[in-house]
Symmetry: D2
Subunit: 93 residues, 4 copies
Amino acid sequence: MAGYRGTKDEYARRLRRIEGQVRGIARMVDEDTYCIDVLTQISAVTKALQAVGIGLVEDHLGHCVVEAARSSTEEGQEKVAEASAAIARLVKS
Amino acid sequence: MAGYRGTKDEYARRLRRIEGQVRGIARMVDEDTYCIDVLTQISAVTKALQAVGIGLVEDHLGHCVVEAARSSTEEGQEKVAEASAAIARLVKS
Amino acid sequence: MAGYRGTKDEYARRLRRIEGQVRGIARMVDEDTYCIDVLTQISAVTKALQAVGIGLVEDHLGHCVVEAARSSTEEGQEKVAEASAAIARLVKS
Amino acid sequence: MAGYRGTKDEYARRLRRIEGQVRGIARMVDEDTYCIDVLTQISAVTKALQAVGIGLVEDHLGHCVVEAARSSTEEGQEKVAEASAAIARLVKS
């Protein structure tokens, strides 16, 4: 079971919205919209995506990592290493 | 005319791909895919979006800002201030 | 005890280096160094700082959060919420 | 002459402050300060550094790039390419 099982619908709603925003950016480009306005939308969508990522990190830590830590030290450390690598990718993106 | 007029098709192609990737993330969530794999995709899409933003900044500087600078100092400075604010939003997203 | 107790010296060494790099940037500005060269150094120092932050997140998760999770569900969730807020600040910086 | 010649003192002041903040982080680590408090400081310093970078970009665009654009199309495009690469590094850091 995914760590985000309790918030699936919320993520689905937010991702549908982001998908629509990306489609909107494509339409802006197609209609030769002024560069700055397109850039403003790209920053907004990037932030929305990061917010989904941050939420997923919290869900993952709160379920998968905590559950692994309670079952064994070794499993806990494995999950921590894996989560830290994913957090690093998010920070660097 | 938009600063990116010469690369419109390329941006359209990349944005369609990003739109598909966001749809793919939604499907992963719907299918209870492991959090880490969803996070990996979110970082990849965030980077792809940023790359489009960076490309648009270069196009905008190379056309709109340069053209304004050549027409008058005042117009040039106005465009620089506007572009710098957009760059700041991109850096902070 | 801090989660990073095992890697304190390494962080101390990296932070001293970063401090020296910031001093170096100030010297570049004082000597009217070309903007682009100063910007290159700022990006390098920002990445070095982020890397220290990512390391501290892993140490914190691997010690403080895991230990809390093993002692009680409630403590574990508290630490997860706190760590997630710190990770969000790192992602947004 | 550097594009930031008009704001040199202000950058010097801000960089000295950032240098002190990095020294402060090293002291926090030396004193086994709680990881989350160290992370909060790292995010603050990262943002301060980025703000200096964003300021330098605006100064560079407003002086070096605009001056090059007004002297010749070729010089203008060269400066735009160079500035865009520096902006990309800042966005990705």
